[in-house]
């Protein structure tokens, strides 16, 4: 039962297996930017304050600087690039462009993820609920107004399906054994 201080792990980033050696205390954010070269994930603060590093992990939008890379071993992580084919994310991206919700653009990937998180749980939020939904994400250019406008514009287009299952879980299957085998998936201390 030896703990692992450095180990090979595999994370399925936007459905592509990425294998790399990581230190025990390395964050998922560092893995994504440095090992998976997913530089669309930004590092604003590295300690959970700014939300620029938000990704979809385990079916939830989280701040990747607050997750250990090792905790994502064998799991799927989606960045905004991996969600480009998702209609909700595509609509949000269009809306941000149309509403002028982007100035320098550094906060945009995280902001889109926070908006995605909100609209999946609450498809028709009030403006106040939109503000709460992006409250963990900092923007130093826009003053937030146009970001709220952009999210609101998408929410207004969402048609509620009656009796839709009341669930936050996206239908994201765990990586299959074949996928793991193909990736040369390695177990980290204890599995």
């Amino acid at each position: 039962m030896d703990p692992i201080s450095k180990s090979m792990i595999t994370i399925f980033v936007n459905d592509q297996p990425v294998q790399a050696s990581v230190g025990a205390s390395e964050s998922l954010l560092d893995f994504l930017r440095q090992k998976a070269l997913a530089t669309e994930v930004k590092c604003g603060c590295g300690r959970g304050d700014c939300g620029t590093c938000a990704v979809l992990f385990d079916g939830r939008v989280v701040k990747s600087c607050l997750v250990l890379a090792a905790q994502a071993n064998g799991k799927r992580v989606y960045t905004i690039r991996g969600l480009a084919g998702d209609s909700l994310m595509a609509n949000l991206q269009d809306s941000f462009v149309q509403q002028g919700a982007i100035q320098c653009g550094f906060c945009t990937p995280g902001m889109l993820m926070a908006a995605y998180n909100l609209l999946r749980i609450k498809p028709t939020p009030t403006r106040s609920e939109i503000r709460q939904g992006i409250s963990g994400n900092l923007c130093r250019c826009t003053g937030y107004q146009k970001i709220v406008d952009a999210i609101e514009a998408v929410a207004k287009k969402i048609v509620l399906v009656p009796d839709a299952p009341d669930s936050m879980d996206l239908p994201i299957p765990a990586p299959t054994d074949q996928e793991k085998a193909k990736a040369g998936y390695l177990l980290l201390g204890g599995g």
Partner: protein, 282 residues
């Protein structure tokens, strides 16, 4: 030297064995929303991170009779979205709405929030006034139940032995109570409370049961016992609230720090306490 190791047990038994073997060198990590910033800041070093997020059995909300059981790994966002919590533990539900921010709530766990033992922890005051029982497990001591009133020992300190893991917690439904939790932070999200206050009331003319808790106003989340005794049997009115707030202030031991001075915190405590009473009664 700064060596950090990592271990991810697959079962509870395996986790307890690892915690037993590494004892004070082990550092449990769940959602990581406190641990990762502490690693960044160099406060966590020379340890083995024991990652308990693979222990699915420690997650979930369950009701049995009048009791609500929570797995220690239950996410704050799941508590915030739970109808059971909203109806049976409304004060906790209120606290979960203002906990961290939506993305942090997707990762932070209720057990982690308690074990980190911040005097300002958002779930601590609600769970304290609901008289929650924490269940700790370890190979050495077996399973023991710890009333939350005896759990905290100071900032970052609890009665847990290094090898013990909080596996679940439970409390009576407070469905028949009126309650309120109010937090004051320097901004509305991702803010540590400068002060917070929770109240639970039953029977309002006069009060039959009154429970009052404060956060960030003492070295640990605090139950204001003398304030509770004073309010019991009283009729709710502003003059009574004012007298109760004076007693409450005398029970607190706030400090001055970067978020606020001791004097400011006492003024806040007075205001938050009265607001919480009014909100609970509304």
């Amino acid at each position: 030297m700064n060596e950090i190791g990592y271990y991810r047990p697959k079962t509870l038994v395996e986790a307890l064995k690892v915690l037993h073997d590494y004892a004070s060198r082990a550092k449990v990590i769940a959602g990581g929303t406190n641990v990762l910033p502490d690693i960044q800041a160099g406060k966590v070093k020379d340890c083995v991170l024991v990652d308990v997020t693979g222990l699915d059995e420690l997650s979930g909300i369950r009701m049995e009779g009048d009791m609500v059981y929570l797995g220690s790994l239950t996410l704050i966002s799941d508590l915030a979205a739970s109808r059971t919590i909203r109806e049976q533990a409304n004060v906790l539900w209120q606290a979960c709405q203002v906990f961290g921010d939506p993305l942090v709530r997707n990762r932070a766990t209720v057990g982690g929030n308690l074990v980190y033992a911040s005097p300002a922890a958002d779930t601590a005051v609600p769970l304290l006034i609901m008289e929650t029982i924490l269940v700790a497990e370890s190979l050495g001591k077996g399973r023991r139940e710890i009333p939350i009133g005896q759990f905290f020992r100071g900032p970052g300190k609890t009665v847990l032995a290094p090898e013990e893991l909080i596996t679940s917690l439970f409390f009576h439904s407070t469905r028949s109570y009126q309650g309120a939790y109010i937090k004051f932070g320097l901004r509305q999200a991702m803010a540590t409370s400068v002060a917070n206050c929770g109240v639970l009331l039953s029977g309002t003319a006069p009060f039959r049961t009154v429970r009052v808790g404060f956060g960030a106003l003492a070295p640990m989340p605090l139950r204001a016992a003398r304030t509770e005794m004073f309010l019991c049997g009283k009729i709710p009115e502003e003059s009574v609230f004012a007298e109760a707030a004076d007693i409450a202030r005398s029970e607190l031991q706030p400090i001055s720090d970067l978020r606020g001075s001791k004097e400011y915190r006492l003024i806040l405590a007075d205001a938050l306490f009265k607001q919480a009473l009014r909100k609970a009664l509304a």
